[in-house]
């Protein structure tokens, strides 16, 4: 009997806690809207840019520690620079935060 009462009390608390957000007025605290296509595209571009920049940094370390030779270094640096620049150019071309 006591057990049933205790259980009932616990259940009541739980139900109230879970139902509360549903009955209280809506708030905008939770991010729910899916990304728009434009946002997705820009996110990918920013990622591409960051990857290229990180790769450049790492190349520098690899070069300083003699893991890659001067020729390879020059070629790879040029390639990653071009990539980073291209990503930034495309990012600039987009007009944030326009919906895509």
């Amino acid at each position: 009997m006591v057990a049933a009462l205790v259980l009932g009390l616990i259940a009541l608390i739980v139900v109230v806690g879970v139902a509360w957000p549903l009955v209280r007025p809506a708030s905008a605290a939770d991010q729910l809207d899916p990304l728009t296509d434009g946002q997705r595209r820009r996110l990918a571009l920013r990622e591409e840019r960051d990857l290229a920049l990180a790769a450049l940094k790492e190349l520098e370390v690899d070069h300083a520690t003699h893991h890659i030779g001067d020729e390879d270094y020059a070629e790879l640096v040029a390639d990653y620079r071009a990539r980073a620049a291209e990503a930034m150019r495309q990012l600039d071309a987009e007009l944030p935060p326009s919906a895509g």
Partner: protein, 663 residues
């Protein structure tokens, strides 16, 4: 009491089902308030499970033997310290622990991904709630800790193997690892469901995988140490299915931790990484299942244990779900780039992955071999240690070699002249080490020499990485050596943390190979005054000593140890008889030398007339196994430690423009 506990679990199960549905609704965008409600439901689950834990522990500590599980795993004479161990001494208790950890981890994961992965939250809640619902269902129906009976006057006691300090931390560490692998899985599935395939979720799951992997590794090491010092047959790993259960997800997670770097840098191996995450989690469920069911003794045992089908269903759901979702999102998982050269770091990571997964597969094959053979033929067949050792050596040696090759090769491609420069010293070191080992008479074991020279090769590679990096910083920033080294590590924690873990692996390999390939062994029946020689040590049997503990009596053989005429004191290998549990256990005696070698003595038997059967080993460098653990933990901590620069950079990437919800 039992009623409240059972009720709390049932309520938690209902909440988990509700949370899964709420997450689904929120994810489909029907109503964002469902998200908050589902999150509260997760809090509710945690609270209810903690109530169940409290009741269960209360029953253990108050000797309430009307709880069947409590009566089956404890007794009145059980020392208080081991009452906690009784928590995971039973199937129901350990599932309860699983769910408790899962509930806590779920909330932590939600919190950690709130900002940059807000869009994933509903799906994350749904997946985690589904996993939780499965384990709660097990706890409510087939494996309830709250089944009651007419209380007997005393319980049957705890398995003496578990009455050991290691058993207080080893199983929880493994569980933290098993459960931890659920989080990367949930993140991956949530990312697929939300269509977010940028690398943000990957970064989040990398850290969780690393932590879970670290716990699994620590758990296995503690288990090995326990087996070595307590089980007492003279080894530290028996290729027991239960041990293999932890090894398999660990190997797959190791593969993921390497290949994730390729995806982060080059946007390749996306599908492969999903496979590894799903595989690691499936193996962790399989592992939980192996430990808890008698499935491996026979197919018939499997059919008769009702819990088996639940697990088969869960495995199918995990693998099928992951497969289906990946297939659905395949267009988003296209590789951004390709591997350009065989001599590149990404290629070494790829080969490392193939070897690790191959090894995991070989272990899995060994574990399920009895079931497979019984299913196709009439006779069950089993594989034993030589099978596993063959694959550990043939797949492990190349892996070890790659560990030394990888750091020397740059990303994308490396030129031959650079390679020649990089490999000169490490290769020389490897060859010299091999030659020195042979010169010192260690050529008796070819795996020993091979492992020794590969270890030297890898060690020099890794140390040269530290030196080169510090030297570069020194010349660029003008720092002194110490500052340069510390900054080098501090600014590149993942890289150098990884190297430290690699050093730990090297120590482990040296310890494992050295202690088994170069071990000396002796055994004999000794009457008082007689002695036995093992290596340079002489053991002289003096007398039998009897003592009494709280719930056992002990008979120890007192052995005087001398080496080259010098006395090294006495050792007392013993046999313990547990009164209530009606079993005996071996208490081995171990004397560790300064060089890390162990004199390891087992009391095999005591004859009626007072003679003792003694088995003694001398195991060189075995101490390195445990030293390796400290490197492992240190390296993992360094990698897991939050990197503020990285966090800031990533956050900036996601907040450069207002994301949904903020706009």
């Amino acid at each position: 009491m039992a009623l409240i506990g059972q009720g709390a679990l049932i309520l938690a199960l209902l909440l988990a089902i509700y949370a899964a549905a709420g997450g689904l609704f929120a994810g489909l965008g029907l109503d964002r308030r469902f998200l908050a409600s589902a999150r509260n439901a997760l809090w509710g689950i945690l609270a209810l499970v903690v109530i169940a834990d409290a009741i269960f522990l209360y029953a253990i500590f108050t000797h309430d033997f009307s709880f069947t599980v409590v009566a089956d795993t404890t007794s009145r004479s059980l020392p208080v310290g081991y009452m906690f161990t009784a928590w995971w001494g039973s199937q129901a208790g350990s599932l309860l622990l699983w769910v408790t950890i899962l509930a806590a981890f779920s909330l932590l994961a939600l919190r950690a991904t709130r900002r940059a992965l807000g869009e994933l939250q509903p799906w994350l809640i749904m997946i985690l709630a589904l996993i939780g619902a499965f384990f709660l269902l097990l706890l409510v129906v087939p494996a309830s800790p709250f089944v009651t009976q007419l209380a007997p006057t005393d319980g049957v006691g705890l398995n003496p193997s578990l009455q050991n300090p290691y058993m207080a931390i080893h199983p929880p560490a493994l569980y933290l690892g098993y459960v931890g692998l659920a989080i990367p899985f949930a993140l991956a599935m949530a990312a697929l469901l939300a269509g977010r395939t940028d690398s943000r979720w990957l970064v989040a799951s990398r850290r969780w995988t690393l932590a879970a992997w670290g716990f699994l590794g620590i758990g296995m090491l503690l288990g090995s140490h326990w087996a070595y010092t307590e089980v007492g047959w003279g080894g530290f790993w028996a290729w027991d299915p239960v041990e293999n259960a932890a090894l398999m997800p660990w190997l797959v997670a190791t593969a993921f931790l390497h290949s994730v770097m390729v995806q982060e840098r080059k946007g390749m191996l996306k599908v492969w990484n999903l496979c590894l995450i799903a595989g690691a989690f499936a193996l962790s469920i399989f592992g939980t299942f192996l430990t808890r069911s008698g499935i491996l003794s026979s197919i018939h045992a499997f059919v008769s244990t009702n819990i088996g089908w639940y697990f088969v269903f869960a495995l199918a759901a995990v693998l099928g779900g992951a497969f289906g979702l990946s297939l659905w999102r395949l267009p988003l998982l296209k590789a951004d780039q390709r591997i350009e050269s065989l001599v590149s770091r990404e290629a070494t990571f790829l080969f490392n992955n193939l070897l690790l997964v191959g090894l995991a597969f070989a272990v899995l094959w060994g574990v399920i071999f009895p079931l497979l053979t019984e299913a196709v033929g009439s006779v069950r067949e089993t594989v034993s240690t030589p099978f596993y050792e063959f694959f550990v050596v043939t797949f492990g040696l190349p892996l070890l070699l790659l560990m030394g090759v990888g750091p020397l090769i740059a990303w994308r491609r490396a030129s031959l002249t650079q390679l020649r420069r990089s490999f000169l010293w490490p290769l020389t070191a490897g060859l010299v080490a091999g030659a020195v080992m042979i010169a010192f008479g260690l050529g008796s074991s070819w795996p020993g020499v091979a492992a020794g020279s590969v270890c030297a090769f890898v060690t020099v590679t890794i140390l040269s990485e530290f030196v080169r990096g510090a030297a570069a910083r020194r010349s660029i920033h003008g720092e002194n050596w110490l500052v340069a080294l510390l900054r080098l590590i501090g600014r590149n924690r993942r890289r150098y943390g990884g190297y430290i873990v690699h050093l730990g692996v090297i120590l482990f390999v040296i310890g494992a190979v050295g202690s088994s390939a170069y071990e000396t062994q002796a055994e004999g029946l000794l009457e008082p005054g007689q002695s036995l020689q093992v290596g340079s040590n002489v053991l002289t049997f003096q007398a039998i000593e009897k003592t009494r503990g709280a719930n056992f009596t002990e008979r120890a053989a007192v052995l005087a140890v001398t080496s080259d005429g010098k006395s090294l004191g006495t050792l007392r290998p013993a046999k313990r008889s547990y009164i209530r549990e009606q079993t005996t256990s071996n208490e081995v005696a171990i004397r560790t030398t300064l060089t890390g070698g162990d004199l390891f003595i087992i009391l095999d038997g005591i004859r009626g007339d007072g003679a003792v059967q003694i088995k003694a080993f001398y195991k060189p460098v075995v101490g390195l196994l445990w030293l390796a653990g400290f490197f492992f933990v240190g390296g993992v901590l360094l990698c897991v430690w939050p990197d503020e620069r990285e966090a800031r950079r990533i956050l900036q990437r996601y907040t450069e423009e207002p994301l949904p919800g903020e706009s």
